[in-house]
């Protein structure tokens, strides 16, 4: 072993890496947390309006049809993307064993990204939406975000280029692939050249790929790192993770048109996406075996490690949401659930129960390491977990059951449409309760997060956690 590798394995070196990524990481994470609060508020308002339509009914900016897309855009491009980027910066530096490069570009990226989300969301609320789901932001806002993403990609790829690690760990494959994929996807989908049914195809090629090649890789990269790292046990089968990665890359790209099953797009196209959705079982099994077989036998650690508690919850939900997705894409299922609230439940199982929970878990791990301070109030962290976990469970169950019943009723022409509408009311109220619990959890989390930045906790090393064992 050479002396250089020896140096790379010292605690001091790792602490230096963490310290050098601190500022960009914290800037991105703080932005993400602020957008999480905004996004939660918008989501709760939209949810309540579906059972109390006369609430805030005279304010145009707060009508359901504007708040609902604003919620999606804020949590996707604000919360999940910004918090995800913050985590990926830290992870890339660690896995490449070299300080993060282009830190100036990262700060510029964060500034632009926030500007883009602010502008885009303002535009949606004030009536300047493009009117396309997932692509509501007007072109200038989308362009700002694209530039911000390229700056981030530049930093990641320069760091990768300067890597000192000999081995490229599986998480890094997902990170590198997604920073190459997403900007291409985002730009191509935003081009103002499509119309009619072709536009619908582009819309869902993008909409599903935003999950496939940006949000899911973030979650998987982090889970592949956090679970083995905290447990102190390597991934169950590294070979399998390779199969998982490439089959994921091959099949996930083809899923988009399952959002148009039964619609006016060519049937062969729908069929291809349905097949690809079912094929997703392969990468999902690979990831599931790796994550769960690594965790198994160590469930006791979930009690002491918030990172593991959130991340394992997220990884389990990844398995669940993916199998659900494969089954949901089938024609028979689509016939019932396509246009119902069931789909909304599925989406939240993915972006919240899987991705956001893993982001929370990772942030609990990363922030003490970049600030060298420790979390205050273990009790509040537990409260955050239970509000989020129970909130999303209630949310998901309410919309899954309610949405299924809605679909069954809607497919029965003898049932007057108003009865279909009235039948969803109770389930929508339950959803608002679940959503509000999640929102409360976010308040707790944001409070803890900003306390951390003000250094309210104990200095790292003198942590209450050690005693609480």
């Amino acid at each position: 072993m050479t002396s250089i590798t020896k140096e790379l394995e010292t605690v001091e070196f790792r602490e230096r890496l963490d310290a050098e990524s601190a500022i960009p990481v914290l800037v991105f994470l703080a932005s993400g947390v602020l957008w999480l609060l905004v996004g939660s508020a918008l989501g709760i308002i939209a949810s309540i309006k579906l059972h109390a339509p006369d609430w805030l009914a005279t304010i145009p900016q707060l009508t359901f049809g504007r708040v609902r897309p604003a919620h999606l855009d804020v949590v996707a491009y604000g919360w999940a993307s910004l918090a995800g980027v913050g985590c990926l910066i830290w992870l890339t530096s660690r896995l490449c064993k070299t300080p993060i490069r282009q830190r100036g570009a990262l700060i510029a990226s964060a500034a632009l990204w926030n500007l883009g989300v602010l502008y885009g969301t303002g535009a949606v609320l004030f009536g300047y939406s493009q009117g396309v789901e997932w692509l509501e932001y007007p072109l200038p806002a989308a362009a700002i975000i694209a530039v911000a993403f390229l700056l981030f990609a530049w930093s990641i790829l320069s760091t990768f280029h300067a890597r000192q690690a000999e081995h490229l760990y599986v998480s890094l494959w997902y990170v590198i692939a997604s920073v190459v994929w997403f900007p291409i996807l985002f730009v191509v989908a935003n081009l103002p050249i499509y119309s009619g049914v072709e536009h619908a195809a582009v819309n869902w090629w993008y909409g599903h790929n935003a999950l496939a090649i940006w949000f899911t890789p973030i979650g998987l990269a982090l889970a592949y790192y956090m679970i083995p790292k905290v447990i102190g046990r390597p991934i169950y089968s590294y070979y399998l993770s390779l199969l998982g990665f490439w089959s994921f890359a091959l099949f996930y790209n083809w899923n988009g048109i399952h959002h148009l099953v039964g619609g006016p797009v060519p049937t062969w196209l729908q069929t291809i996406s349905i097949i690809a959705s079912v094929l997703m079982v392969i990468p999902v099994m690979a990831v599931a075996v790796n994550h769960h077989m690594t965790t198994i036998g160590h469930f006791k650690l979930l009690r002491t490690s918030p990172t593991l508690r959130f991340t394992v919850f997220g990884a389990m939900c990844y398995t669940a949401v993916s199998f659900q997705g494969s089954a949901e894409a089938l024609r028979n299922t689509q016939e019932v659930v396509h246009f119902t609230h069931y789909t909304v439940g599925h989406a939240h199982l993915g972006v919240y129960a899987f991705l956001s929970m893993i982001l929370f878990g990772s942030m609990y791990y990363i922030i003490p390491r970049v600030t060298a301070w420790d979390w205050p109030r273990p009790g509040a962290i537990r409260l955050h977990f239970w509000l989020a976990a129970l909130g999303i469970s209630l949310y998901f169950l309410a919309l899954t059951i309610g949405g299924w019943l809605q679909g069954m009723a809607m497919n029965n022409p003898a049932e007057p449409f108003v009865n279909v509408v009235a039948g969803t009311r109770g389930w929508l109220i339950l959803r608002s309760i679940g959503g509000s619990m999640m929102g409360l959890g976010h308040l707790v989390f944001a409070f803890l997060f900003f306390e951390m930045l003000w250094r309210a906790g104990p200095r790292r090393g003198a942590s209450p956690w050690e005693d609480a064992k």
């Binding site: 083995p228 790292k229 390597p234 590294y238 070979y239 490439w246 650690l301």
Partner: protein, 58 residues
């Protein structure tokens, strides 16, 4: 039955892609580039960050 040309195109492209991927995999395996050992999975543990063995469990 008349098959739209686009279907043939897609099937063709997909078949070529799959064939390429398979060939790539076979080649990589044959030339010993895929490491079937679990060694790669251990590489994240060489930085002295606390794992349960070292006490702090977060």
């Amino acid at each position: 039955m008349n098959v739209p040309p686009a279907v043939l195109l897609v099937l063709g492209v997909a078949a070529c892609g799959a064939a390429l991927a398979l060939a790539g995999f076979a080649w990589a395996a044959a030339t010993g580039q895929l490491d079937p050992s679990n060694a790669g999975a251990l590489t994240i543990f060489d930085d002295g960050d606390d794992t349960p063995r070292q006490g702090a469990r977060r």
